[in-house]
């Protein structure tokens, strides 16, 4: 009887292993097809990142909105995480009231364009009072005002094969969003904060605001946007400068 049991167990184990392996292969193909794989998916830690990213993409597929708050809940003290860039090009822009600042948008778009601050302010104005948390643990609530990135991208015409939207800053940083987050109604090109022009240390003249991800995804001091279908050839190919410092590309946690 015990022999029978072991043989049966061996067969079931074998079948389960085969089913598991082919199931994994099918899951990997499906995940790739439905864009459920983040750029930092390699290695042991990549498995955790892929599970988180895929789970969130499925969970938020109906474009769920980040929690919004009352004006009375806006934080009295807004923490500053790093001062504005000290480079000469930034100081020149600042001296001119950012009148010479331009945001260029290129890559897989029908009409590559360049926008001034005044151009961006001509788009429908939107506001959100949302929570911004740092990976470190601190957080604050503020009101952000700006143009929806989706409105701007509609004007330049994103091509259908596009998969990623890359952002570059005056202080030489870069990050990227997938199309669902780029077109999300709470993803802003924000030029105002708490009813004022964007303060210098918070990203003047224009910063990105991504409400459903941690603060480090909301890049300050934007200078260029590139729409692509691949992450290769940009930085180390991980979609952002963050993974090399231990912060994952996807920051929805």
């Amino acid at each position: 009887m015990s022999e029978l049991l072991t043989r049966r167990r061996l067969i079931t184990t074998g079948l389960a292993a085969a089913a598991g392996a082919s199931g994994l292969a099918v899951a990997a193909r499906l995940a790739d097809r439905y864009s459920l794989i983040p750029p930092d998916h390699r290695g042991l830690f990549g498995a955790g990142e892929t599970l988180t990213y895929a789970a969130h993409r499925i969970l938020t597929a109906h474009h769920s909105l980040a929690r919004e708050f009352e004006r009375s809940q806006i934080s009295k003290v807004i923490p500053v995480n790093g001062k504005h860039p000290e480079v000469e090009s930034y100081q020149r822009l600042q001296a001119g009231g950012f009148a010479d600042w331009r945001l260029t948008i290129d890559g897989l778009v029908a009409r590559p364009s360049s926008f001034s601050l005044a151009d961006l302010k001509r788009f429908p104005v939107h506001s959100q009072i949302t929570h911004q948390a740092c990976e470190e643990g601190w957080s604050f609530i503020a009101e952000w005002t700006g143009a929806r990135l989706s409105d701007v991208l509609n004007v330049v015409g994103v091509q259908p094969q596009a998969k990623w939207v890359f952002f570059f800053t005056i202080d030489q940083w870069w990050d990227s969003l997938d199309i669902p987050d780029a077109l999300h109604p709470q993803t802003f090109l924000a030029y105002g904060m708490n009813g004022q022009e964007m303060p210098l240390d918070h990203g003047a003249p224009v910063r990105l605001k991504v409400a459903r991800q941690l603060g480090y995804k909301s890049l300050k001091y934007l200078s260029r946007i590139t729409v692509t279908d691949t992450m290769k050839n940009i930085g180390d190919g991980l979609g952002s400068g963050s993974p090399s410092t231990g912060y994952s590309w996807y920051a929805g946690i």
Partner: protein, 239 residues
């Protein structure tokens, strides 16, 4: 000669005990995977905490404002969180959660919870409880089933503490709370969830420490062997 010794040993009644399967394979495997992932979560959690060892209540909190508790720990930003701390935390969280789900399904369908974890009335007479509360050494026959205090402790860990950890962990996620806002609002906000996440960790660490002390008092080698091989080997514990 050797044969007769073996026969003699076989004649001892406890040998039946030693043959009894104490822990099923699923319980043993999930126990050790959970042990490893809990340790990884704890270490990476400490690394993440050190980036900002202050706790708050409500929705927001920062160094510039008031805190609930200033932990007597240094702010260490560069070493831990920029190493593998954060990536490790989420990988081991997935391992822990998936293992836990598998264990829950098994526990319900195999009646493991009903048979082994659900305490009966008899488990709670003072005569039965008081020696446990004084952490006295358990009798050998107690190796065969969990006592009432043990049952309650395990039920609390499986059905209250671990779910609270997952809940408060998800309550800190801006993406997950966009779908389920109550994960954060139930506790009064994202920072409250973070604070509870910390205190439930402390309770879990205390549980693990008491658990290890009790295993030592009950006979470390025999109990750990039982959790690895599934067999009790109570006979050896006698001598």
């Amino acid at each position: 000669m050797a044969e007769s010794v073996q026969l003699h040993e076989l004649a001892i009644p406890e040998v039946n005990v030693s043959d009894a399967l104490r822990h099923s394979a699923v319980v043993r495997v999930t126990h050790w995977i959970t042990t490893i992932s809990f340790l990884a979560l704890l270490l990476s959690g400490i690394a993440i905490l050190l980036a900002h060892p202050r706790l708050y209540w409500g929705e927001t909190g920062a160094r510039e404002g008031p805190s609930l508790i200033d932990l007597p720990l240094p702010f260490v930003l560069d070493v831990p969180i920029r190493g593998p701390g954060r990536y490790l935390h989420f990988l081991s969280a997935w391992v822990c959660v998936l293992t836990g789900l598998f264990y829950l399904l098994y526990g319900f369908f195999s009646r493991h919870f009903r048979k082994n974890l659900l305490p009966s009335k008899d488990d709670f007479s003072w005569r039965v409880i008081s020696p446990h509360l004084r952490l006295t050494r358990p009798k050998p026959e107690e190796a065969l089933k969990y006592n009432g205090v043990q049952r309650l402790a395990y039920i609390a860990v499986v059905f209250v503490l671990f779910p609270l950890m997952i809940w408060t962990g998800l309550g800190m996620s801006p993406a997950v709370t966009s779908v389920f806002p109550w994960l954060a609002t139930t506790f009064g906000g994202q920072q409250s969830a973070r604070t509870i996440h910390f205190f439930v960790t402390i309770v879990l660490v205390i549980f693990v420490l008491v658990h290890i002390i009790m295993v030592f008092r009950a006979g470390f080698i025999a109990r750990v062997r039982a959790m690895i091989t599934g067999r009790v080997a109570a006979a050896k514990e006698h001598s």
